[in-house]
Symmetry: C2
Subunit: 377 residues, 2 copies
């Protein structure tokens, strides 16, 4: 008998109640019943985003929401500033270049986070930039960006701030309106606790002016169409993913029941415990400023983490993730975002110890588990 656990940085584990909500009988999307469900779901997402603006629900992945943040904001030839410090930061560069932007790419190492000083300097050099595109929590490195501090720089300029918050929403508090973030893109399969399939996007009032004036061709991801259909009775321009929306509503209800402050505090405790375990096992963190949704650690010298991850999955039923890009084979990413309990984190660390031992790494037995348990208190 083997039970499976996903400590992956997305897709993440989904509550059974949410899976059953997905399996409830189909209803048609062009009905009042579905419009109400969609509106309630959007309201729940507004709380996670920290915004009074409508959150639009796209049938697509987080990348679709990111593309929407490019094609609705940037006209061909527009200059944008990117701060790639990981695979998903680089996605902004690819999207920008792909849609004809002049991309100014700041030089950051993987594991670093954009600082307010770097943002200020970039804006002084490029005051004509349409937007800064950055990443709240970089899933490939586990690094967190201080969004509030970056927004404090951008909101005094004409340059917008657009953020990939795919692996931070529902994990870290986000205060889009208070901070002054202009565009936030998100996906459903991480802190939002449902399977992949939905993308989310919200836009600040000043960014709407840019969206309206933007000349890039777009249709499926056209925010103007989304706003129009939403205003006309909480509908989407194209068919909605009925079962996934119902799943998201259920997951948001569960998060409200736990209390959003408690959800954020739980992630902080989980991350603290994972970091404590890594330190006890003498494994360094990849991120300078670590996020609370995942912990990325350097593997001991000589261990291929692709093989280690497969070994833990196949033998112990516990799935973590290896590295991406040039960190492939070199790091272990332990996801603890969304539907993860403190007890399950101990389980994850115990399996990590087993795996490391199987691969010949020597350390004080239970050192990681002990440290995690102490951190959890």
């Amino acid at each position: 008998m083997k039970k499976n656990y996903m400590f992956t940085p997305g897709p993440t584990m989904v509550p059974h109640e949410v899976l059953l909500a997905e399996a409830a009988p189909m209803i048609h999307h062009r009905t009042t019943a579905f419009s109400e469900m969609l509106a309630e779901t959007s309201r729940g997402l507004q709380k996670l985003f920290g915004t009074k603006e409508d959150v639009y629900i796209i049938m697509g992945s987080g990348t679709a929401a990111m593309e929407a943040a490019i094609v609705n904001v940037c006209s061909p030839g527009d200059k944008i500033i990117c701060a790639p410090a990981g695979k998903f930061g680089e996605r902004w560069v690819e999207l920008g270049e792909g849609f004809g932007c002049e991309v100014v790419s700041l030089e950051l190492e993987w594991g670093q986070s954009l600082t307010p000083g770097q943002a200020r300097k970039a804006l002084e050099e490029h005051p004509d930039a349409r937007a800064i595109y950055t990443t709240h929590s970089e899933t490939s490195t586990g690094a967190l960006t201080d969004l509030g501090a970056i927004a404090a720089v951008t909101r005094r300029t004409d340059t917008l701030l657009a953020v990939d918050a795919i692996s931070s929403i529902g994990v870290h508090p986000c205060k889009m309106d208070e901070w002054g973030v202009d565009v936030i893109a998100c996906g459903s399969q991480k802190g939002c606790m449902i399977p992949p399939g939905l993308g989310y996007i919200a836009v600040s009032p000043r960014a709407w002016d840019v969206v309206e004036a933007c000349s890039s061709p777009r249709y499926y991801l056209d925010l103007r169409l989304m706003r129009k259909r939403w205003a006309g009775g909480n509908q989407t321009p194209f068919t909605s993913a009925v079962t996934l929306v119902r799943a998201q509503k259920k997951a948001l209800d569960m998060m409200q029941e736990e209390g959003l402050e408690n959800v954020f505090a739980r992630h902080e405790r989980l991350a603290g415990a994972a970091r404590a375990a890594a330190a006890a096992l003498e494994l360094g963190l990849v991120a300078e400023n670590p996020a609370n949704g995942l912990t990325a650690i350097h593997a001991p010298e000589g261990i291929d983490t692709g093989k280690l991850v497969a070994h833990m999955r196949d033998n112990y039923g516990v799935q973590m993730a290896g590295g991406q890009g040039h960190l492939k084979g070199k790091i272990i990413r332990i996801g603890h975002m969304g539907y993860v309990s403190e007890e399950e984190l101990i389980l994850a660390i115990a399996v990590l110890e087993k795996g490391l031992r199987d691969f010949g790494y020597e350390f004080d037995p239970s050192a990681g588990v002990d440290a995690a348990m102490k951190a959890l208190g």
Copy 2:
């Protein structure tokens, strides 16, 4: 007690087995287990498309698949020929114009279907057209296009044939390779018997040359990225909608079990019965050449079908659809695609009779039901 039935032309009713497949425990998408599931699903879709080409599974609606058929084929300024004879035919025009094509729009009435003669004439006048974009089964009117006959015209030219087969796949036989259709776009929530959330697309070898040379910007819907990741081990460029793919695999298994020929024959019988009922009730068809997935009928003079549809849904639990565009309020669309049995079609006609009588329309009692039962034999 009220039980609900959806005789809507998409989303359609979903088998409980399929909904439960959607509710099975999450697995990670970057695993061999998921790659195999994706590959089996694609193979099942190949049989429905009638192609040996890979069918790519997009996280998005049918419209996303249609947009992929535009942005991967047409470079800005390319001339395309559209044949809009309904709301979804008009979507090709909107997409073409939206992405900078020169759109030649043939003059058809809603309810008509593009004929081979019209296609031949259009190609003689516009031999430089990149592609003809048409609709296999037009969901807003219930009209069927003879794809094989259109393809017999286009395949002798350099102009490609791209088709919205969203409401025909799984309903009508489709022989993409044999007929010589170049691009087929589809969605999951109609004849494919699962909830909305996935789009499907397949591309002929000669169309691939065009895709490779196409200069339109694209990223999320880039077929080149899809082909690359598929070749590298049956994966998708971006996160896959794991639960919906599992649902689609289950639905395809059920269709295989019924036998595809039987599936197509069942739709033919359902459509024949619906048409016989309409004739018995003295209500004319909207389509000149009716499709087998839905039957669109003109309402009796003076009845607002928006109100009639709501009345049947709210009082008898049976949801049909009204008209779209200029046919709003004037027609009734009875969906009988996907998971619909012959017995349920009788139920639908019985409720239609009740609704029509409630709205004051006079006819021989049970005339529709009698005719449908006779047609079903």
